[in-house]
């Protein structure tokens, strides 16, 4: 089959790789209809993520049709149109059974591989280096989906491919930002980042009853989309004092909930020595959110590219009594609800797919996504 691979020499190229195969009884094979770029992929392209091997197939946000079913699969049949959660979780461990599938103990083929980095194993993900699970990516004609009864969901007939696609990752991430930040009716919510996830955090905040929502970014075109499609107010960080604007926006109190959704690398993978010698970058958006948030408020960090950052204002967290939390999306818990909202037109996401490319031009799609964020919110590949 054809697939977009990261190759030696730091290139992206579409090449021929063997078709995926059922490896466990709970697998299905999905024929990909749509697969989207994501900001979390960008550090991979520049080699900032250790362990990426030449020939790895990229991509994790996708939907498609089931074409093969493992012996243990109960909820899917050949021909089902499904959206697949970008992260891999078992549905059976202590964390999954308590609604925390991104913390799954069994979502990786080698749980010891990322213990060193994160302290404990976490859910796997498609299209990342082997330590993140061991699952090939979705920028391909076919993908093997482990634990398919847990991570693949039938798409209602009335929901189109371009809308349902974002139920795979961006929409559950956006929902988690608002839910995890504990947005309540009447809240003032500030979101850093007007990418797909940031806009969906803003939309989720509205749906949870927020009274005012503002999105902060430096790309006017993205801010325009946030105003037009989400109805949020916006702050262009290039030409204003964000903290002052947010104080004004919230009656001097500061937002009740601040969500960081800037995407991309907030920090690099550095040794302890490098971090203490001052080479590490500061997490600017999180720092700004901590300063801006009202006393006793909540800061939620979504940035999947965040690794190690130092010089963080811990004292501000203490003095203001903040709650700071983070998380990867819990799609296995949220996707059915999000698909329902999509079917009811409460959640419209197709506008996020600003560019479509056939799989053969996927490298060009990534170049556009990376280099022209003004123009390209998400590039979507269509392998068939």
């Amino acid at each position: 089959m054809r697939a977009l691979c990261w190759t030696s020499g730091g290139e992206l190229a579409v090449g021929q790789v063997p078709d995926p195969e059922l490896r466990n009884d709970h697998d299905v094979i999905v024929r990909v209809r749509r697969s989207a770029t994501c900001g979390a992929d960008l550090p991979l392209l520049t080699g900032q993520v250790p362990g990426l091997a030449a020939g790895e197939v990229l991509g994790h946000e996708f939907l498609g049709d089931v074409v093969e079913v493992g012996a243990g699969v109960r909820r899917h049949r050949v021909g089902d149109r499904v959206v697949v959660c970008a992260s891999v979780a078992c549905g059976a461990c202590w964390y999954c059974r308590r609604g925390l599938p991104s913390c799954c103990d069994n979502g990786s083929t080698d749980p010891t591989a990322n213990e060193a980095e994160w302290g404990h194993p976490v859910a796997g993900c498609f299209g990342l280096p082997r330590a993140a699970g061991g699952f090939a990516g979705s920028h391909a004609e076919y993908v093997r989906v482990p634990y398919a009864d847990v991570g693949a969901f039938p798409v209602p007939e009335s929901v189109g491919d371009d809308r349902a696609l974002f139920a795979s990752d961006a929409a559950p991430a956006g929902w988690l930002g608002a839910e995890g930040g504990e947005v309540r009716p009447g809240d003032v919510v500030a979101v850093w980042g007007a990418g797909a996830v940031g806009q969906l955090v803003a939309r989720a905040a509205w749906l949870l009853g927020a009274e005012r929502v503002v999105v902060v970014d430096r790309h006017p075109a993205r801010l325009l989309m946030a105003r037009r499609h989400v109805g949020a107010e916006t702050i262009d960080r290039r030409d204003t004092d964000v903290a002052a604007e947010l104080r004004e926006f919230s009656g001097g109190r500061g937002p009740d909930v601040c969500v960081e959704a800037v995407g991309g690398p907030a920090g690099e993978h550095l040794s302890l020595a490098a971090r203490f010698s001052g080479r590490a970058r500061a997490p600017e958006a999180v720092r700004e959110a901590v300063y801006a948030c009202r006393k006793g408020g909540s800061v939620f960090v979504l940035n999947g590219g965040a690794r190690h950052v130092d010089a963080f204002p811990v004292g501000t967290v203490v003095q203001k009594g903040l709650t700071v939390r983070g998380g990867r999306q819990h799609g296995q818990r949220h996707i059915p609800m999000l698909l329902d909202r999509m079917a009811r037109d409460e959640l419209r996401t197709e506008y996020l797919a600003t560019h479509h490319f056939p799989l053969e031009r996927a490298a060009e799609g990534y170049a556009l996504f990376r280099d022209r964020p003004e123009e390209c919110l998400r590039a979507v590949f269509t392998p068939h």
């Binding site: 290139e11 103990d105 069994n106 979502g107 060009e364």
Partner: protein
């Protein structure tokens, strides 16, 4: 954690189960923090002890280390299932493939094995990876543009 009453299954080469003395919480906590040969490696399995080691029989991933490790189980606090612990036996002779894979870190092999047991008990299967690029062989390019990942059309 109070005293840990352990149900212990220690098997020799013939798979004979034997009882083992109670271990203290101190020993158990050290096993969690230190990953070095000879220390206890522990995972918590979200199932009761009788499902983790039914009739004191070792599940398949552990059976491969038969004779080389000792194993202990104890109920986890708060109804969180079973704490499954294993450590290399002193002067153990590692069997077959395990010896080949061991390198100089038996602790890591024991730990990986415990995770496999946990996966098997909780999900019914040990998750297998997709074939790696190395296993798949070279990627013949198709007739499509190639862009340097950190360069091209800006």
């Amino acid at each position: 954690m109070g005293r840990v009453g352990t149900v212990v299954a220690v098997a020799g080469a013939l798979g004979v189960a034997a009882a083992r003395a109670t271990r203290t919480a101190v020993t158990r906590q050290r096993a969690r923090r230190v990953a070095r040969p000879g220390c206890w490696q522990v995972v918590t399995v979200d199932r009761p002890p009788e499902q983790v080691l039914p009739s004191a029989a070792w599940p398949e991933p552990l059976r491969r280390l038969d004779g080389a490790v000792e194993v202990a189980v104890a109920p986890a606090p708060g109804g969180r299932g079973t704490e499954l612990a294993a450590r290399a036996r002193p002067h153990a002779v590692w069997p077959g493939l395990a010896a080949h894979l061991l390198g100089d870190d038996p602790g890591l092999l024991v730990r990986r094995t415990l995770w496999q047991v946990k996966q098997l008990v909780e999900t019914g299967e040990v998750l297998r990876a997709d074939r790696t690029p190395g296993e798949r062989g070279p990627v013949p390019p198709i007739d499509a543009p190639r862009w340097p990942a950190d360069g091209p059309p800006r």
